[in-house]
Amino acid sequence: MLAFLVSAIRLGMVFLFGSTGEILTEKSGHLNLGTPGVMCVGASCGCFAEYLYLKSVGPFASPVLAILVAVVATFAGAALMGLLFSFLTVTLRANQNVTGLALTTLGIGISDYMIAKAGTSFGRASKYFTASLPFADDLGWFGELFFSHGVMIYLAIIVALVCSFVLSKTRVGLNLRSVGENPATADAAGINVSRYRYVATCIGSGISGLGGLTFIMDYLNGNWEYCIDAFGWLSIALVIFTVWKPNLAILGSIIFGALYIASSYITGVSFAGKELFKMLPYIVTIIVLIITSMRNKKKNQPPESLGLPYFREER
């Protein structure tokens, strides 16, 4: 049971990064369906940078620097995808859905290419990521559950909390939410809609990308076994599940993680049954969608202009 929970948390944080980034993006009114691609590119950029770094320093790598290199490269690579998305949708006024889907395909392609160059095994790098706090072992199940994780797990929670705080308690957050709700209003209030959309999407994508890195380095212990786009889709589903709230996403992501791996921990389920189990997160999301739209509470609805473009001088 303990192993199950720990595993659920580790996988959940992949979703947490993904959906925190996507929430930030969606709060600006951008529905970035490119998140799966963004996560792929982020992860592969991180891995590639790590591969170069470890190759250049040989056996004398600094753990802190190793982590930093990967995180920065991931963030930058994923943010670049966000920049591309914003450029296409804000500046060139392309359709957001089509652009997002195209970025997903592109992202998977890019990551496949980079992994082909860097190899699929990052076991050494993974050790830095999964190193746990020294006193975790002394605290029994409590330590196992809360302190045994690698650095990315804690980073995910911190990032989610910071995002939640920024969105609800700061002027920047208020402005950002207004851009996603009603860009014309924001514009009339003197807020630079394009800039907010660009910045939110780039930062959001960067955060989403870290989810990909977490999956490879932490959950899979550094083995690039299969492409990670499925987790991008789940992250988008998680955004709906948590009704666009990063703080709720912390809990939601662990639930998603648990649902996703539940099949492996329940004995006596056939292979087909396991695949059914993996559908659970999506089914739960649909149920949440039904409930929130039935209750029709304004507070729990998506940002009003989500997915809609904004141009000012239209008559």
Binding site: L174, S178, N182, A188, G190, K298, E304
Partner: protein, 509 residues
């Protein structure tokens, strides 16, 4: 005279080939309420949008306190202490009043909702507003939302307030309350510009009135020295002869009788208020009114597209001689009876045609049910498309060219042509000549006349009074959802219609 708080000199703004404002001059002093009066499309809102930084004038100067300024964005406008209250509220639904009010403020001070809410309360207390700073916008009434908008600009320290048709959405009681607040602001030294087309409001509220007509600046008068009839004349102008052909109606019989219909919008605003009239066969009934007075709802109610809360619409069927109540019928049944709505809404393509389809396909939108096999029968609609192209002189490369690529006039011809082809007994056309050049307009007028001579009851919603006066046989004037009068187009005057148009609800002459 003291320096004006804001002064505009020779402001001109064009959108493409359309001149929205030409050489407009006006000024407002401190502690003064100025009304800007004009019909729809006279350029009032465009002018105010230039002051508030939404648009930038093509030429002309703006002075604030005697100094020339350049206003390029809403932010510039704030910096010059100009605040605009738009007709369509610019508020975020899921934010509280306070959050909306402080939105976009560059904060040197700490972000503190409680402090801001306190300041909001101070402002509302000072001017006599009634508002809960923590209430969410989506829980508010229209009047409350407007209050939030006004406090929003006051919070930013605006000294010049522009209100774009603030009373259009208010009840008479709410209007009175608003006026009281506005007078209090004036006495506090604020300059207030109010855009309106309601004469009685102009007379009761403002100190001076500036009149615009079709983008041109007509003049400014002191409210104390003017009268309703002078203002109306300034607003609608002198009658211009257009020489539109008009035949004498013959064999008129009642075709459509509308009795006391009422419609209420989802927000509880009365869209139509006890509207009654009769449309006769073989005549053109014009409908005049300020845009948004209920014309659209009226036509949609007849066509079965708008829910009617009470009242009857009786259709005298010329084929069977029976009377049918359209109220109980579906839009398709109504259409099959021969009541045709050739609706040309604000967005021409929006309600009548599919832009990406060719003319043939658009013809089929109305006849696809006639097909006998599972496959589409393209022959008949194709022939119809060819016929419309040749009869109405539609300029298009072919029947399969997407109608989106046709010019406005040609699109309109296709739309009207399709409805006429169904041999209607009642033909409703709303703004069929909007945006058309003169030749195309006359072609549409002739089409309507042709239908009239065939014994069709034509209902024509127009915005140009000169056209209405020359084309129609009778004119129904609608104001704020009520019929304010039905006049004979041959004997009435432009001023009479203008006066009827500006009469609001509940005002009897």
């Amino acid at each position: 005279m003291a320096t004006a708080a804001i002064e505009l000199k020779n402001i001109t703004k064009t959108f493409g080939s359309i001149v929205a404002n030409r050489d407009v001059n006006l000024s407002v002093n401190r502690g003064e309420i100025l009304s800007i009066l004009g019909e729809n499309g006279s350029g009032k809102t465009t002018l105010m949008n230039m002051i508030s930084g939404i648009y930038f004038p093509d030429s002309g100067q703006i002075f604030i306190d005697g100094k020339e300024v350049v206003i390029r964005s809403p932010k510039d406008a704030f910096d010059h202490k100009i605040g605009m209250i738009h007709q369509h509220f610019k508020l975020v639904d899921v934010f509280s009043a306070t959050e909306n009010i402080i939105l976009g403020l560059k904060g040197k001070d700490k972000y503190n909702i409680k402090e801001s809410a306190k300041k909001v309360e101070e402002i509302s207390h000072k001017y006599g507003f009634d508002i809960d700073p923590n209430k969410m916008i989506h829980e508010m009434s229209v009047s409350e939302k407007q209050t939030v908008e006004i406090i929003k600009v006051l919070y930013r320290g605006a000294d010049i307030l522009i209100l774009d048709e603030p009373t259009a959405v208010l009840t008479p009681q709410e209007t009175e309350k608003l006026f009281k607040v506005l007078r209090r602001m004036r006495d506090d030294g604020k300059s207030i510009i109010i855009i309106t087309h309601k004469l009685h409001e102009v007379l009761s509220l403002s100190d001076r009135v500036s009149v615009l007509r079709k983008g041109e600046y007509i003049g400014t008068v002191e409210t104390a020295n003017t009268s309703e009839s002078e203002l109306t004349e300034m607003m609608v102008g002198k009658k211009i002869s257009l020489n539109i052909y008009r035949s004498e109606p013959k064999d008129c019989e009642d075709r459509l009788t509308v009795e006391n219909i009422n419609c209420v919008s989802r927000e509880g605003v009365k869209l139509l208020n006890s509207v009654s009239f009769t449309a006769k066969s073989g005549e053109i009934l014009g409908i005049a009114g300020i845009a948004g007075s209920g014309q659209r709802e009226l036509l949609e109610a007849i066509a079965g597209l708008q829910h009617i809360d009470s009242g009857e619409i009786i259709y005298n069927n010329p084929k069977t001689g029976t009377q049918d109540n359209l109220r109980d019928k579906t839009p398709i049944q109504i259409r099959d009876l021969g009541v045709r709505l050739s609706f040309v809404p604000e967005d021409r393509l929006g309600m009548g045609l599919v832009g990406n389809m060719g003319i043939t396909d658009n013809m089929m939108l109305r006849s696809y049910r006639k097909g006998k096999s599972v496959f589409l029968e393209r022959k008949a609609p194709h022939d119809l498309a060819e016929k419309i192209i040749s009869d109405l002189e539609v300029v298009t490369p072919g029947t399969e060219t997407p109608v989106r690529r046709l010019s406005g006039g040609n699109v309109q011809k296709v739309l009207v042509g399709r409805e006429i082809a169904a041999a209607p007994t009642v033909l409703m056309a709303a703004y069929p000549v909007r945006g058309l050049d003169i030749n195309s307009s006359y072609l549409i007028y002739n089409l309507l006349n042709e239908q009239k001579e065939r014994g069709v009851a034509v209902i024509f919603v127009g915005e140009d009074l000169d056209v209405l006066l020359e084309l129609c046989d009778r004119i129904l004037v609608i104001g704020s959802g009520s019929v304010t009068g039905i006049v004979d187009a041959r004997t009435t005057t432009k001023e009479e219609i203008g006066l009827l148009m500006t009469k609001g609800k509940g005002e009897e002459k």
